[in-house]
């Protein structure tokens, strides 16, 4: 894990949390920023019957977590951060070690310190059973953009390999003609009809 340095500064009368000198939330009005973010995310989450926990990538000073929790108290929020020091800044959220444990816990807002390894296939299969949402709070990604991007792609299966699997472009024409379809390939063909 890359080392980073968290610090606090008072800017225009507000306490601002910084990582390696970059602020992890708005320098001007962190609370308003959090409320706006929470409202937008809440609308997105309301478009269907929400299943499972909500992973929020980026913890920072956790204003946005409090705002979303206040707006949608029924949500099971799991904040994810790469910085162990964040624990000292984010408030009294409970630290959980892994995604499965976070889901099983009854804590309203749990905090995971993500390791660099992404979630394993086995772990994700388990997560699929209950479903989950992934939200990003990008201001808090400062200093760990690459790690967060990789984690998000892994949690949402938006990796290049996954996109090839969905599009069916991972096989050559000869392979398509000669290789029987796998169950996943047949399922993808059916699901494409659901959204066509």
């Amino acid at each position: 894990m890359r080392l980073s340095r968290l610090s606090r500064e008072i800017i225009e009368g507000q306490e601002v949390l910084l990582r390696d000198g970059v602020s992890l939330h708005s320098r001007k009005d962190a609370v308003r920023e959090a409320e706006t973010w929470a409202e937008t995310q809440s609308n997105a989450l309301s478009r269907g019957t929400l299943q499972g926990p909500v992973f929020v990538l980026g913890c920072g000073a956790a204003h946005h977590l409090r705002a979303l929790s206040q707006l949608r108290p029924e949500l099971h929020l799991v904040a994810v951060d790469f910085d162990e020091e964040i624990l000292a800044c984010a408030g009294d959220f409970e630290l959980i070690l892994g995604f499965r444990e976070a889901i099983q816990s009854q804590v309203k807002i749990a905090l995971i310190i993500a390791s660099q390894r992404s979630t394993s296939e086995h772990e994700k299969r388990h997560l699929f059973g209950m479903g989950y949402s992934v939200l990003r709070f990008r201001p808090a990604w400062a200093g760990f953009e690459a790690e967060y991007t990789a984690l998000e792609a892994s949690l949402l299966d938006n990796t290049p390999e996954s996109i090839l699997t969905w599009s069916g472009a991972g096989k050559t024409e000869t392979e398509k003609d000669t290789t029987p379809l796998t169950e996943d390939e047949k399922l993808i063909l059916a699901l494409k009809e659901v959204v066509s």
């Binding site: 997105a44 989450l45 478009r47 269907g48 019957t49 299943q51 994700k124 299969r125 699929f128 059973g129 479903g131 989950y132 949402s133 992934v134 939200l135 949690l155 949402l156 299966d157 996954s162 969905w166 029987p180 379809l181 169950e183 996943d184 390939e185 047949k186 399922l187 993808i188 063909l189 059916a190 699901l191 009809e193 659901v194 959204v195 066509s196």
Partner: protein, 372 residues
């Protein structure tokens, strides 16, 4: 023979499929199970004789479309459900739904015999001349000779399901109106329904405007105490009090047919009275082109109740389901103008339509009829 019937459409279509299940049952002694979308769940308890399996369509769409969800969960959900179905070890699968999704699902379902459109290892199977006719001709026709139930039965080598008769309910004093459909284009204007209700009330009938419990918010402010929220189960329990149901083309109409409630249908917008008519002998249907108004619908309902030929009291064309299940458009004989020259008065028959105007040329049905 353990048979899985695939019915992956909407609720109204599922009620149509119930006619086909009768044909399947009549064919041989078999245990029937049904694979349907979860929106059909409310109907499952109406048919306890069948075991249902459900595909959560809206959840699949949610997982696939929302950017904060992992699309592979949809794979997980669909795969899990279809594996559960396969665990039943069916002898035969009948695909009553000739959609690509249903056919793709059949590629994942196992049975020694599959009828209807399906895929096998990604390639189309089960294609027959009837399905080709449905795909190439029937679906583009406005008024085909065969309705959807008949053509589906034919494509599956099933006997044509019998038309249902409505039960006589001479003592029932209620007329039920179902104004809302699932598609705004199929809806008749509320003002027309209100006028229809007024005409029927004047004739001495108690009018109940019915709707699903979740439609109360829309219907209660318009229809007040005349509105009653009814589930399908409650509809079945209370059906003896209903003399006639007048409804748009919606699942309630097709369920009423199964319950032998006499029905009159108002088919507007994309509703096609030739393709998906109520499968009830003698049902009266009103279509977009006839320029009908609330008074016409009321007069026809009262004529049917009084045993009078609807054609003898109507000035506008109306449809009637004949004994072959096909919609027959009846064009009434020309009526003499009334003395005031502006309206027509029908003098024969026992039902008075005095005051009814001529068929409104150019009037758009579905909008409020300002004539009455």
């Amino acid at each position: 023979m353990k048979t899985l019937c695939v019915s992956l459409l909407r609720l109204g279509d599922f009620f149509h499929h119930m006619h086909l299940l009768t044909a399947v049952e009549g064919e041989s002694q078999c245990e029937i199970q049904i694979l349907a979308f979860d929106e059909v769940k409310p109907a499952a308890k109406l048919f306890p004789q069948y075991k249902f399996h459900f595909i959560p369509r809206s959840e699949l769409q949610y997982e696939l479309v929302e950017k904060h969800r992992n699309w592979r969960r949809a794979l997980h959900l669909l795969g899990t459900e279809l594996r559960k179905v396969n665990a039943q070890k069916f002898d035969r699968i009948l695909n009553m739904t000739h959609t690509s999704f249903a056919a793709r699902c059949l590629d994942l379902l196992n049975a020694p015999e599959k009828k209807g459109l399906s895929f096998e290892d990604g390639r189309v199977r089960g294609w027959n001349p009837i399905l080709k006719y449905v795909n190439d001709i029937w679906r583009n026709e406005e008024s085909p000779l065969m309705n959807w139930v008949d053509v589906t039965a034919l494509s599956l080598d099933l006997a044509e399901p019998p038309l249902l008769d409505a039960d006589e309910r001479p003592s029932a004093r209620e007329i039920w109106l179902q104004p809302l459909t699932s598609d705004i284009r199929k809806n008749w204007d509320f003002a027309n329904w209100q006028k229809l209700a007024a005409h029927l009330s004047q004739a001495g009938f108690e009018v109940r405007v019915i709707g699903a419990p979740n439609e109360e918010e829309v219907l209660r402010p318009v229809f007040g105490t005349a509105f009653t929220a009814l589930t399908f189960l409650e509809m079945r329990e209370q059906k003896q009090s209903c003399r006639i149901l007048i409804s748009g083309d919606t699942s309630v109409l097709h369920f009423a047919v199964l319950e032998k409630i006499p029905v009159h249908g108002i088919y507007l917008g994309p509703a096609n009275a030739f393709k998906t008519p109520p499968r009830q002998k003698g049902a009266i249907l009103w279509t977009e082109h006839s320029g009908f108004g609330p008074r016409d619908v009321a007069a026809a309902a009262l004529a049917v109740i009084q045993g009078v030929d609807v054609a003898s009291v109507e000035d506008v064309p109306f449809g009637r389901i004949n004994s072959f299940g096909r919609l027959h458009i009846r064009t009434p004989a020309r009526h003499e103008p009334a003395s005031n020259g502006s309206t027509y008065v029908k003098t024969t028959g026992r039902v008075s339509t005095e005051g009814a105007g001529p068929s409104g040329s150019g009037r758009r049905v579905g909008q409020e009829d300002t004539r009455l």
